[in-house]
Amino acid sequence: MKIQLIAIVVVGITLSACADLSMYNQTPAPVRGSADDTRYPSSQSSTAAKTYPMEEHPSVNEDTRFKPAETIENTQNPAVVALLDSAYQQREQGQLDIAISKLERAVRISPRDASIWHQMAQIRHQQGLYETSLSLAKKSNLLAESNKALQQQNWSLMAKNYQKLGQSKAAQQAQLNAARLY
């Protein structure tokens, strides 16, 4: 397990380095963690530890039924980055509803981008809409799949929401989950 973790970290660092060299010279959106958020397909292996070789045998079942989906690499669209950026600025200016509106536009372009859903959850929390924020953070967490950094942020946010909602036990558990992802 340790070896795998090291491998993931190495791959992660390599990928994040590549990300810096990416094509468009965009300023990183301040709203999302920069390199941490890069999704690396390799991290998938950490959950499915196979102890016997699978690739040596021609697959008996050719069809793809019930096969787990391969993680599709998900680079963030510049349009989404621009909207996240703009949402961040609106949020800084206290225009929370306008920020949400920008994030919804981003969702229309990239509906399964977990970081957008996380931002929405953050703003809803700021607005005191804890139930809504909680659900949004859960949704973000589901979509975050292998993005541990984002999952950790989601758990922390969920903990805060549970706290506000007076569910201290759930808050503790969420905090614990967040801590485990450090």
Partner: protein, 785 residues
């Protein structure tokens, strides 16, 4: 403001009273005096009364403004999968004009794979977009780059103005776009005054001079060139009075014109006139004011009009239907040239400009604004949703801008294909001509926004909106709720659990015996859960549902989003529950959203007529069912499409789309249903007959056919399901025993951790068994640390 008027009157009359009193004291005279006083008092009261009317209506809300409904604006960005043909058709939908010079906003030209577009400005809820001239470059994948022509910089994103999809009109159906005086070209004002009321800035509301002059000019010309009423009188006539022609009304009109002038500036009156005047008819919608007329005839904002446009509009004032430039272009041009001549004669238009203007043809835009009934099912839905927050009166008169979630391209594509498929099914299945009816709802998979909605076989008919109001038994569409209830108890059920597909008799509430049957009338014995769903076996489902208890299935349906009362009878398990296509979409939205409920929405936001942000209808999600159980169910629904009742979809869509869905058919083939989703959209289709007679269609032969055709045209993404952390894949054989990849017939299924079968299949060899044990021991060792 009212008082001085009254005192002025009485001051004028009182001296006369005194002198007459001194001279004679006869009975008749007294009577006459009394009568005069009475007359004066009554007149004064009447004038005060008229004054009130004039002021109140002018000060208050002058016009009832219709609410306008817009489609979701298209956002262009690098990487958007849109080809040049689609882009061009989008520009056509937005009524952008082809023009090399880009003289007006809303125009474009193409050179090779590059479009240069001058966009229209637009005010949205979250801010405004200014007009920009941009270059859009395409490659084989879609949009390669968007650059701002002025700065040369790349734009990450560009939001175009939205297509107007309909309006909610006041009862009189007047449509207008209010303009301010500063947004009106000077030539228009000059021309209008030259033709309609030359002394406008001099007179006090009525003008004897202009009546005489008009009379003289008309006699000289041998036709009516000018009218005698001032602009103020015309405004009063349109604004306050009926169209009745009588001397009394003329007097009233003159009085009110005087009163109006006494209270208000010339420019205020002129601005009101420009917005009031009737300038055309479009079906039952009347075009009022120059702002709307400019869009209606030229598809341009007023300020962009050239002298030949302006003169044509000015000419229309006299008779919008007689001079209708669409119906009688020659007559309209003749009238326009007359206006131009008159303007030159009075020195408000240089001769050279007038002759250039006269060189133009009628120059009318081929685009008309969208009729209010273009998308009846959508407008109906928007109306119902907005009525929760606004009064009917306000919706029809406040000039609200309603930003709907409609995707114009998807709606129009879906309409076209839906209509075509229904006609062909109607014929193929020998259904009485024109009787096959249907409805369709398409939403965004992740947010529940309605992108298209159809309520009739002829989508543009307004009337019975089947998408919302056809409440029909949902048949097998209910089954996913049964299986979800099972999969939510991982200690008892997984996808490979076997269920007994054999005859079952149940006593109904009424005491009658209920003996459901399979569609093929065959009992299939012990079948795995996923197969029972894929093949939509009724007996297995009823047996499973009875084990789970009907009340629990009912609860699942409620969690998924059913708000209607559900009777917990066993027949619920086979879909006796009647719902509208819209309500079905709400249930499946929760499945498509991987366990998160999102209320279906047709409105994003509302702004006032002045573009102030009023209301937003935000995206919200609510975690209602366990995502892991939904994940399992969704993989089973994908299997419905791969090898079950939904497989014909793959004649239209590529297998990589990994569609998830379910067919539904009710007794005697009365209702044909399909509900399912791709990566980007969820759609529900219902087909049947309005009189509830058998339609001869199953879910697969009818609704699925329509669903697949439409989805193949609109969907761009395959389904991606997020595997929750506590879900793992394991091999299992057809009987549900744990297997491995060496076993023939074994398949990998997802299981909620700890629920995978442990008993090994006979196909697993001794060597593998040892290996398996070793691996499990090793796993245990690792996880233990």
């Amino acid at each position: 403001m009212v008082k001085p008027k009254k005192s002025a009157k009485s001051r004028k009359t009182s001296p006369r009273k005194k002198t007459s009193k001194q001279k004679k004291t006869g009975l008749w005279t007294r009577f006459f005096i009394k009568l005069s006083i009475l007359f004066i008092v009554i007149s004064a009261i009447y004038i005060v009364y008229l004054d009130r009317i004039v002021v109140n209506q002018f000060e208050g809300k002058r016009w009832a403004l219709p609410a306008h409904v817009y489609a979701n604006p298209v956002e262009l960005y690098q990487g958007l999968a849109m080809n040049t043909q689609q882009f061009e058709s989008l520009l056509t939908d937005l009524s952008y004009q082809h023009s090399r010079q880009l003289t007006t906003t809303g125009s474009y030209y193409r050179s090779g794979g590059v479009y240069t577009v001058k966009t229209r400005p637009f005010n949205f809820w979250d801010g405004s977009e200014v007009s920009k001239t941009i270059k859009v470059k395409f490659n084989q994948h879609g949009i390669r780059a968007i650059t701002d022509k002025a700065t040369g910089k790349e734009l990450a994103l560009l939001r175009l103005d939205p297509v107007k999809v309909g309006s909610f009109y006041p009862s009189h159906k007047e449509d207008r776009l209010l303009v301010k005086l500063e947004d009106v070209p000077k030539t228009l004002i000059d021309g209008l005054i030259a033709i309609e009321d030359r002394d406008f800035y001099q007179h006090v509301g009525v003008s004897a001079k202009s009546i005489l002059r008009a009379f003289w000019i008309n006699v000289k010309a041998g036709q009516v060139v000018q009218g005698g009423s001032t602009l103020t009188q015309q405004l009063v006539k349109n604004f306050y009075l009926t169209s009745e022609r009588s001397l009394w009304r003329k007097i009233k009109e003159a009085l009110m014109a005087l009163l109006l002038e006494s209270h208000y500036e010339k420019n205020e009156i002129l601005e009101a006139y420009l917005n009031e005047v009737f300038l055309g008819q479009d079906g039952d919608r009347s075009i009022n004011g120059f702002g709307m007329a400019s869009l209606f005839y030229f598809n341009k904002p007023l300020i962009e009009l050239k002298p030949h446009h302006v003169a044509l509009l000015v000419g229309l004032v006299k008779g919008p239907s007689y001079y209708d430039p669409r119906r009688s272009p020659a007559r309209a041009v003749e009238r326009r040239n007359l206006v131009l001549d008159e303007m030159t004669r009075l020195g408000v238009l240089p001769e050279r400009q007038a002759s250039i203007a006269k060189g133009f043809g009628v120059d009318i835009s081929p685009f008309k604004q969208v009729r209010s009934s273009r998308f009846p099912a959508l407008l109906d839905l928007v109306k119902r949703q907005i009525s929760l927050d606004y009064q009917e009166e306000d919706i029809r008169t406040e000039g609200l801008n309603i930003f709907s979630t409609l995707d114009y391209t998807i709606q129009t594509t879906a309409e076209r294909l839906f209509k075509k498929q229904l006609e062909s099914l109607n014929k193929r299945y020998g259904i009485e001509k024109g009787k096959l009816q249907g409805a369709m709802v398409i939403t965004r998979r992740e947010s529940g926004e309605i992108v298209a909605i159809i309520g009739d076989r002829n989508p543009q008919y307004s009337g019975f909106n089947r998408a919302l109001d056809a409440i029909r038994p949902i048949g097998s569409l209910v089954k996913p709720a049964v299986y979800l209830t099972a999969l939510s108890q991982p200690s008892l059920y997984n996808l490979t659990s076997t269920i007994d597909d054999s005859a079952i008799n149940l006593k109904q509430q009424s005491g009658e015996l209920w003996s459901p049957q399979n569609y093929d009338k065959v009992e299939h014995g012990q079948v795995p859960l996923h197969l029972a769903l894929a093949q939509s076996y009724n007996l297995a489902t009823v047996r499973l549902g009875m084990q789970l208890k009907v009340a629990n299935v009912k609860r699942t349906l409620e969690k998924l989003g059913v708000r209607r009362e559900i009777k917990p009878y066993p027949s619920l398990l086979l879909g006796s529950l009647a719902l509208s296509p819209f309500e079905v979409a709400q249930i499946y939205q929760t499945l498509a959203g991987e366990g998160f409920y999102s209320q279906l929405r047709s409105i994003q936001s509302v702004t006032s007529s002045e573009h102030a942000a009023l209301q937003r209808y935000p995206l919200s999600v609510q975690a209602v069912v366990n995502p892991s159980a939904v994940y399992l169910l969704n993989t089973a629904l994908q299997n419905v499409m791969y090898e079950g009742t939904g497989r014909s979809a793959y004649q239209y869509l590529p297998r990589e789309y990994k569609l998830a869905g379910k067919t539904g058919t009710t007794d005697d083939l009365r209702d044909s249903w399909f509900a399912g989703f791709s990566g980007d959209y969820l759609a529900v289709v219902w087909l049947g007959l309005d009189d509830n007679k058998p339609s001869k269609l199953t879910g697969a032969t009818g609704a699925l056919n329509v669903w697949s055709t439409v989805m193949a045209a609109v969907s761009k993404q395959g389904v991606q399901l997020t595997q929750p952390e506590d879900v793992e894949y394991n091999w299992a054989d057809p009987s549900g025993y744990r297997a491995n990849e060496f076993c023939t017939n074994a398949v990998q299924y997802p299981f909620i951790r700890g629920s995978a079968p442990t008993e090994l299949s006979p196909c697993v060899s001794e060597v593998s068994r040892t290996l398996e044990r070793a691996s499990r021991w090793f796993d245990g060792l690792l996880n233990g640390r």
